[in-house]
């Protein structure tokens, strides 16, 4: 926290509203007047009912979407255009299907001007780090969902971005794979603590991973309604930490806020829990 006071936050969303113009006329006010700061080295998880605007908020931080009002500051500088300091792990599959796992990872270094040979060597290292040494020559369609997510993780991390934006990166995976991936992520993150904005619909996962859990309200005009510090020690093991009494206390506190929002989202005819 002292660090956060000294240096400007890695990400600061200030009074961000987003409204989408609809094709049939009118507009949909997805997110309204939201403020969110992520300090350098801080791991922030965002939870909220489905369709509340979590991905939208990440897109603003990534510079892929310009907010209707407000602004995003990256390390104290107002963002205009793409956020070059951020790596983004998308909710959907984003690997290039025509490139092998190795090429998908290596190509991330091309914009940096890294020579092809050096890029390939580093891509191999990164694929080894995410446990995919045996799969370097596979095309995405020949990999499982979890393996694809790991390739995408390597592709994002090889550029060594100062900010990591992750949108339900473990969404489609089974419980065991989620744990493996979660521990892998914490292990990689602990080496050189990047600022992380991590969207998930799994509250337990959010608590297990993050320093802070931010709760968004149900849309439309969603905003941030809760901000909970997670005072659990590190390093953590995703599976073991869930049995700690502190974990349950935090879970209970956050759920009290989140449940109301999820129920409101249901009442509006939406689906999933958060």
């Amino acid at each position: 926290m002292e660090k956060a006071l000294a240096a400007p936050p890695a990400i600061a969303l200030r009074g961000v509203s987003i409204s989408f113009r609809l094709a049939e006329g009118g507009a949909y006010d997805a997110v309204a007047r939201s403020d969110l700061a992520v300090a350098p080295g801080e791991f922030v998880a965002i939870v909220g009912p489905t369709g509340c605007g979590k991905s939208t908020l990440l897109n603003v931080a990534a510079g892929l979407l310009a907010p209707s009002t407000g602004q995003a500051d990256i390390f104290g500088v107002r963002l205009a255009g793409l956020n070059a300091k951020a790596g983004y792990l998308f909710q959907q599959d984003a690997l290039m299907p025509w490139k092998t796992a190795l090429d998908n990872v290596a190509v991330a270094l091309e914009p940096r001007g890294v020579s092809r040979a050096a890029a390939l060597a580093r891509a191999r290292e990164w694929l080894a780090r995410v446990g995919l040494s045996a799969f370097v020559d596979r095309y995405p369609h020949m990999l499982s969902g979890g393996q694809r997510k790991r390739v995408a993780l390597a592709q994002t991390l090889i550029r060594d971005p100062e900010i990591l934006l992750m949108d339900e990166p473990f969404g489609p995976l089974d419980a065991q794979t989620r744990q493996i991936m979660g521990n892998l992520l914490l292990d990689l993150w602990s080496r050189d603590r990047k600022a992380v904005m991590f969207v998930t619909h799994d509250l337990e996962e959010a608590i297990a991973l993050a320093d802070r859990v931010v709760v968004m309200s149900a849309g439309p005009v969603a905003t941030i309604v809760g901000d909970f510090p997670v005072g659990l020690g590190r390093p953590r093991d995703i599976a073991e930490i869930r049995t700690e009494p502190d974990f349950h206390a935090i879970h209970k506190a956050i759920w009290a806020t989140l449940r109301g929002e999820v129920q409101r989202a249901y009442a509006r005819g939406e689906g999933r829990t958060a």
Binding site: L82, F90, M142, S144
Partner: protein, 264 residues
């Protein structure tokens, strides 16, 4: 199904068709032949003529010319289609302005162009290449246009987040995406290049398979016509096999092109 079994079945179908043709044209049924050999020739005559053409070596020149025209029409048509497909897909305004003209040009029956092309480019190979070009160009153009327009927005956003500039996006995202679409139409495009060549030859030339068929037709040499068609048919199958082989090599990344998939 196993490959040899499939091949055997395919051959069997061909043989049965030849046999039926043979019986109907040579064996009298109920006192008369059902198909008059003057109009339908007979398989043995046709095969003998094919053999003769190859044995005498006269056919090679015609095959070579048709092949050359096909390849040229395909290459020019593809290059043109790719370039224009890219330009139109990336430039909203150009696409919108030219849209009715493209549609009109594509709707034009190409046969009416053949005499004009003969006038412009002479009776040599170039009028046939031009005819094939007009066919291939539009197929490739529409597919590349579609391919570039329909690149997954997520893949594009991801590539941009990786820091790619316009040139790198073109190379790593747009181009491969357009190629997939182009390859999905490759068989059709090659087929149309050949159609353009043969039709062009048929309507006016002094060489090529189309010319051979036309020449036989003008003297009511039905055997010659059938022999020409048979050679053309085999020619198409060979070209198609070559295209399939190229496609297999270039699209290894596509699901379904390889039999092994892994669940992990």
């Amino acid at each position: 199904m196993k490959r040899p079994t499939l091949l055997a079945l395919q051959l069997a179908v061909g043989l049965v068709m030849l046999l039926v043709w043979h019986v109907l044209t040579t064996v009298p049924i109920g006192g008369r032949k059902l198909l008059d050999p003057f109009f339908f020739s007979t398989p043995l005559d046709v095969l003998a003529r094919v053999w003769k053409d190859f044995y005498a070596g006269t056919i090679w020149r015609h095959l070579g010319i048709t092949l050359l025209e096909t390849v040229l029409a395909f290459v020019f048509g593809s290059v043109g289609g790719i370039v224009f497909g890219f330009v139109f897909a990336r430039g909203e305004l150009i696409a919108a302005v030219f849209d009715p003209y493209i549609k009109a040009a594509n709707a034009l029956p190409r046969v009416v162009l053949a005499p004009i092309f003969a006038l412009w480019f002479g009776l040599g190979i170039w009028s046939k290449v031009a005819l094939g070009f007009t066919l291939v160009f539009f197929i490739v153009f529409f597919n590349v246009y579609q391919g570039v327009r329909e690149v997954s927005p997520t893949i594009l956003a991801n590539a941009r987040m990786l820091g790619m500039n316009e040139r790198q996006l073109l190379r790593h995202v747009y181009w491969p995406a357009a190629l997939t679409w182009m390859f999905s139409s490759l068989h059709t495009a090659v087929g149309f290049a050949l159609v353009g060549a043969v039709v062009g030859e048929y309507l006016g030339s002094a060489a090529g398979l189309g010319y051979k068929i036309h020449e036989a037709e003008s003297v009511f040499d039905v055997t010659g016509v059938f022999a020409g068609m048979m050679i053309l048919a085999v020619f198409v199958i060979v070209i198609d096999a070559v295209v399939t082989a190229i496609e297999k090599r270039l699209l290894v990344w596509r699901p379904g092109t390889q039999s092994t998939t892994t669940q992990g």
